[in-house]
Symmetry: C2
């Protein structure tokens, strides 16, 4: 069997690729949530002086990448590979950002699982000695996502309680073969899991089975239970999806509840009219880049297991009556010396 495989869905990274830089850019609503103080840059409004929300989303990613580069004392020319994706058709935000940065680029689509998808591939490639420095970015913007996936914002549509609010945010992470930051030690790659959910306003239920499946695979592959981690994190399941994940894993014999948070539940106050919580690629990206890694720096958390979670649908697949499968990619992030 391949050198680094633990079997199943997990590989172990012995060379400990580490996070040497990170940044988060968010909108006003996100800045007003409980994690507001942790983000690097707050946009004054949803357009930020651009002519379209799509152009704003590109600027958000670019600024996040530039701040992360600055923090890690790197230039764009130091980047061996950029791994990036977003929710927009043909991942145009990532494409245009890669054009501006002028770096070798692998475009990804994993819906809202993109953050840990990009970090999975980026850290494997650094670990294997194929890159010294890798940039991972992802983003979402409430206004670009709503009008692409749902309805024109001008219609003022309302959502049912299970509906979630797409985070306006971009996150950038720089991985390196050398440095002092927290390192990636394991990568558990998700399978596409489908419980037959067809309700586009209940993404949490669509993604929770994928999160539970990936965590179960991780626990089995590593022969470690939830207690091995200070914190277990999912991307954007929201309050309903979070509860479902707890219950699905309990049936499998794993109790994660006492150490489990979902980024979609953390990013907003429930008074902010956000339905069942935050969603979007940007959700786990800014919560990890802004909040969680800061808490690791402070020694609050030493070892976390995080899985960004994606709901795989398009307007076409939905109109054709297809169900919405989910996918979740998990990585382990550890402080040095822990």
């Amino acid at each position: 069997m391949a050198l680094h495989r633990l079997g199943g869905q997990t590989v172990k990274l012995d060379n400990k690729p580490c996070i040497i830089g990170r940044a988060s850019v968010v909108g006003q609503k996100e800045s007003q949530g409980p994690l507001g103080e942790y983000f690097d840059k707050i946009m004054p409004d949803n357009l930020w002086g651009e002519k379209s929300w799509e152009k704003t989303e590109c600027r958000m990613v670019l600024e996040a990448a530039q701040i992360a580069l600055m923090k890690s004392n790197k230039e764009a020319t130091d980047i061996n590979y950029m791994f990036a994706g977003d929710l927009l058709n043909q991942i145009m935000t990532a494409n245009f950002t890669a054009r501006t940065l002028g770096v070798p680029f692998f475009g990804l689509f994993g819906a809202c699982s993109t953050l840990t998808e990009s970090m999975s591939l980026g850290s494997i490639i650094v670990d294997g000695g194929y890159a010294d420095t890798v940039l991972c970015t992802t983003s979402s913007h409430f206004c670009t996502a709503e009008r692409q996936f749902r309805f024109p914002l001008e219609m003022g549509n309302q959502k049912p309680p299970t509906g979630q609010w797409t985070v306006t945010g971009a996150g950038a992470i720089i991985l390196s073969s050398e440095g002092e930051g927290p390192c990636i030690t394991h990568v558990t790659t998700g399978k596409v899991v489908d419980y037959g959910i067809k309700d586009v306003n209940n993404m949490g239920a669509a993604m929770a089975p994928a999160a539970a499946s990936t965590f179960k695979a991780h626990f089995e592959d590593t022969d470690q239970g939830p207690q091995h981690y200070d914190l277990i994190v999912t991307g954007d399941l929201g309050w309903y999806g979070r509860q479902l994940t707890i219950e699905l894993l309990r049936k499998e014999g794993y109790d994660i509840e006492d150490r489990y948070i979902d980024c979609g539940c953390e990013i907003y106050n429930q008074e902010q009219d956000i339905g069942a919580g935050g969603s979007g690629c940007g959700c786990s990206a800014v919560v990890l880049a802004g909040y969680l890694l800061k808490k690791m720096d402070e020694g609050i958390y030493n070892r976390i297991l995080i899985a960004s979670t994606g709901a795989l649908l398009s307007t076409t697949s939905n109109q054709q009556g297809e169900s919405i499968p989910g996918i979740a990619h998990a990585i382990v992030i550890e402080r040095r010396g822990e």
Copy 2:
């Protein structure tokens, strides 16, 4: 510098991950072209008994994957990772195929560069000892692409001479750490290159600068010129883009013309009313999986440099007046012992 890096955009794969299985599934039009006899399966019509062209495209990929698995004496459970993408919004073809196969899945979007993007990542991960067996798939379908990117087929729109014809085809490649097949020795990852083309009916011109940029980087990084290869291949530039690539590289001091083919120029007869040639993710996928690897088996080619080429646009980016950048990812495929 990282162990396997040659510098610039290229890494060298010392463990020679090899192609142990491949398959191609195409439509009627492709079967009637000059390469018709090389494809594994020909669909009887564009729907193949399914209820929508999108469902047909999923079936095409699934059948290609199953044939490739059969040829390599593997089961789906042997697949450590699937790398796949397509042209459809949110790469739904790849997502649904991964759901059916039930394997760990990394979703990619590189437009028509997806074949070599998937093989780049797949071969690096096998080379590094993170996987024993990887499945790479990609696809396009004339009918799903036309209605998503252009106009309803029922309108019977005509194209200008620079317009290209989207290939209806799916390709699957199985990479392994062990075996006798041709192996991947180098990976040169593309940057997003933009010459300001805005004409959606001139994709060849949009992608040619990216192809030339990646080949130039490859020649510089490896310190080898075009003469090092029996054959140099691009994905789907068509006749105009092919000529432009030759001219752009000539300006850089590299003459590739005597050993250069474009899959988009090879797959159809010019009498088939296909404009400037074939295009789509499936184009280079079926030409490589069906034709080129067969010619390598026969000893006609021993060392080829192939770059699938992608035009990065969405209907939204186009409507917002953005130009169409391109990207091209190159890999070197060598016969054992050459």
